[in-house]
């Protein structure tokens, strides 16, 4: 394979991995606090449509991004209320969120189909870094949202493992009763991180409609929310591993496109299956690896916290 093609595939891997990365980072926060949110797909779709709508109205993609984050956060609050206050089943509530979000985005997006985004996030070459051979064109000739994710990953890693609030977050997800006894507010922290998780999912969705596509299509996430949930398991709830994993998934996505572009004789339907089959295989491998290492996720993941049952 010649070098230009390789660089273009790797650069595309970063671009298609970024929306999954944002959603996965948000899910890592929520799951670390003990709340499983299977509504990523729905929150991403609503983020995509509301961000796009706001960008069309204001011609400002940054405002679109903020609206998308807000919409994702508001949807996540429904999940938070049902699972934290009303102790509803987290799996079913997440599924409800996905079904609801899919419908809501389809409803809101109907008049927007076919409109091109007025202003999008476009690639900006970073001075100096962008000139590095190989790495420059792959990593540093991207758009601002990609650069933002570069910053977000180390910040989240530091926050989780090196700060006191990060310790509290992990405690709430690992052993809420102990955290409660320490005086950490289990309910308020879970609310906070589920909401922040939803905001990041909304941003991931807006990346699709304002940078990747950039247009609105019904169901444009095409399962990326679910791939992000698989990625969280693959990453063992670690932001840095999530970054690497998302580029791996992005790479498989991008590879399918390139093979088609080269004009290989494989029907596009089979190439489009690749990300889903790859997700299943990776999940099987990650689960084996995880159980070997004894890392099966936060201890209280999926369980409602009931103070009286301490």
């Amino acid at each position: 394979m010649d070098q230009m093609l390789l660089i273009s595939i790797l650069a595309a891997a970063v671009t298609s991995g970024t929306p999954i990365l944002y959603a996965a980072l948000g899910e890592i926060l929520a799951e670390r606090s003990g709340v499983l949110n299977l509504g990523l797909e729905g929150m991403m779709l609503v983020g995509a449509v509301s961000g796009f709508m706001a960008a069309v109205k204001t011609s400002n993609p940054w405002l679109g991004l903020m609206v998308a984050a807000l919409a994702g956060g508001v949807l996540a609050l429904i999940h938070a209320f049902l699972t934290i206050n009303l102790r509803a089943n987290q799996v079913v509530s997440g599924l409800a969120l996905t079904i609801f979000g899919t419908g809501l985005s389809g409803f809101l997006g109907k008049p927007l189909i076919g409109i091109p985004a007025p202003q999008t996030f476009k690639p900006v070459t970073i001075p100096l870094l962008g000139k590095i051979p190989l790495l420059g064109p792959i990593l540093f000739q991207q758009d601002y949202l990609v650069y933002l994710s570069y910053l977000l990953v180390p910040i989240l890693w530091f926050y989780l493992y090196r700060t006191r609030p990060g310790l509290h977050l992990r405690a709430v997800g690992e052993n809420p009763a102990a955290a409660d006894a320490m005086g950490v507010g289990v309910f308020s922290l879970r609310y906070l991180y589920v909401a922040v998780g939803g905001m990041l999912a909304g941003i991931g969705g807006a990346y699709l409609s304002l940078a990747y596509a950039p247009t609105w299509l019904e169901n444009m996430t095409a399962g990326r929310g679910w791939i992000a949930i698989a990625l969280v398991i693959f990453s063992m709830w670690d932001p840095v591993r999530a970054l690497l994993g998302s580029y791996l998934f992005g790479g498989v996505d991008a590879l399918g496109f390139r093979i088609q572009a080269v004009g290989a004789m494989i029907p596009s339907f089979f190439l489009n299956m690749l990300p889903y089959i790859f997700t299943i295989l990776v999940l099987i491998l990650a689960t084996r690896e995880g159980s070997r290492r004894g890392a099966a996720g936060p201890g209280a993941l999926g369980l409602p916290y009931d103070r009286e049952e301490r």
Partner: protein, 363 residues
């Protein structure tokens, strides 16, 4: 004000789930979801009463509408039953949509391969193929779940996309009808592959199959040892393991059955409705099945009733599209129903009580 006399609202566990409330909850949830939908429609500049009137008129207002509601309820029942039996064991089969597609694929393969077979033989073979197609597809996520503990939510869902792409490959490619004006559909099946219909409507034999499946499942769940094992594993896997139940084997069996029922839904759609395999044979029956399962509290009898209700919602959804509302409205209402069911479920397990702060109620 004296702090001790402050009244607060808290939740107190019920000793036994209240019977009348477990019946009331789904009814109220649907009403609340419709109310939410009305507010949403009002905010987006539609007349909610008018919209609901068109929906009700479409679903119940004529013999045709009513029969179409029944027609839609058939695949909903079969997938809903499949999802219910899996959920009963806390096995989150989100893959009913893909299992439906693989059932439709397998049944179509039989119909297209043996056009000269007698109707009785052909339909029996198609039922068997449809069941097996869905069942084997359901087994795919069950194997890694049973032996390695791999999360079945994600794997079963990913397989939906794969199954739909597989059917699309066939109907856009090798199976495309050469006389089909380039539409993504296969040649029509031979008339021997058509399911009998009733009352001069599109209601087909699949209804009888679905009702029989519900009855059988009810017996299996409550009157057999296997059903007992499914319930115990669902309630408490630890207790089941202690009692020596083979959990891995039950996971495989239940997912096989669950997928098979969804596969039957695919078979009855191609043999009863479309009479050929084509792109987009399901408007998301496999996802609605999740709502049906939860709304009926995983009870097979209730699945039949709730499927009829969601069938009506689908048919009503088609009629409002002609007045400019998107099809997604229905999916949004479905999600809202599930939210309200989840939200009000707590009332079946807990009761709201007023407590004076600082005091503990004696139990």
């Amino acid at each position: 004000m004296n702090k001790q006399s402050q009244l607060t609202l808290t939740l107190e566990k019920r000793l036994a789930p209240s019977r009348w409330i477990s019946f009331l909850v789904p009814t109220i949830s649907v009403a609340m979801a419709l109310l939410f939908g009305a507010i949403f429609l009002l905010m987006t500049g539609h007349d909610p009463l008018k919209v609901y009137e068109i929906m009700a008129e479409g679903a119940f207002g004529s013999k045709y509408g009513l029969s179409e509601t029944v027609v839609k309820s058939i695949p909903l029942m079969l997938t809903g039953l499949g999802v219910s039996i899996a959920f009963k064991m806390l096995l989150w089969n989100i893959g009913a949509e893909g299992q439906l597609y693989m059932g439709a694929f397998a049944a179509s393969w039989v119909a297209l391969s043996f056009p000269d077979a007698s109707p009785g033989f052909l339909l029996s073979a198609m039922f068997l193929a449809g069941f097996l197609g869905g069942a084997l597809w359901g087994l795919l996520p069950a194997l890694p779940r049973a032996f390695l503990g791999v999360n079945e939510v994600i794997t079963s869902l990913m397989l939906n996309y794969v199954a739909i792409l597989w059917v699309d490959y066939l109907v856009y490619g090798p199976w495309k009808d050469p006389k089909g004006f380039n539409f993504p559909l296969t040649a029509p099946f031979t008339p021997s592959a058509d399911l009998p219909t009733f009352f001069g409507t599109r209601i087909h034999l699949g209804l009888v199959v679905a009702l029989a499946a519900a009855a059988i499942l009810n017996v299996v769940l409550w009157r057999t040892r296997w059903g007992y094992e499914i319930r115990v594993i669902g309630e408490s896997p630890a207790a089941a393991r202690y009692a020596g139940m083979n959990i891995a084997r039950n996971i495989l069996l239940v997912m096989f059955l669950s997928g098979g029922l969804a596969g039957l839904a695919g078979m009855t759609e191609v043999a009863g409705i479309t009479h050929r395999l084509q792109h987009g044979i399901s408007p998301g029956y496999g996802y609605s099945a999740i709502i049906i399962a939860w709304l009926s509290k995983l009870s097979p009898g209730a699945v039949v009733l709730v499927s009829f209700l969601l069938g009506a919602l689908l048919v009503g959804g088609y009629s409002i599209q002609s007045s400019g509302l998107p099809a997604a409205t229905v999916s949004m209402l479905q999600g809202a129903i599930l939210f309200f069911v989840l939200g009000s479920e707590i009332l079946t397990k807990y009761r709201l009580v007023l407590v004076r702060r600082g005091e503990r109620r004696a139990n």
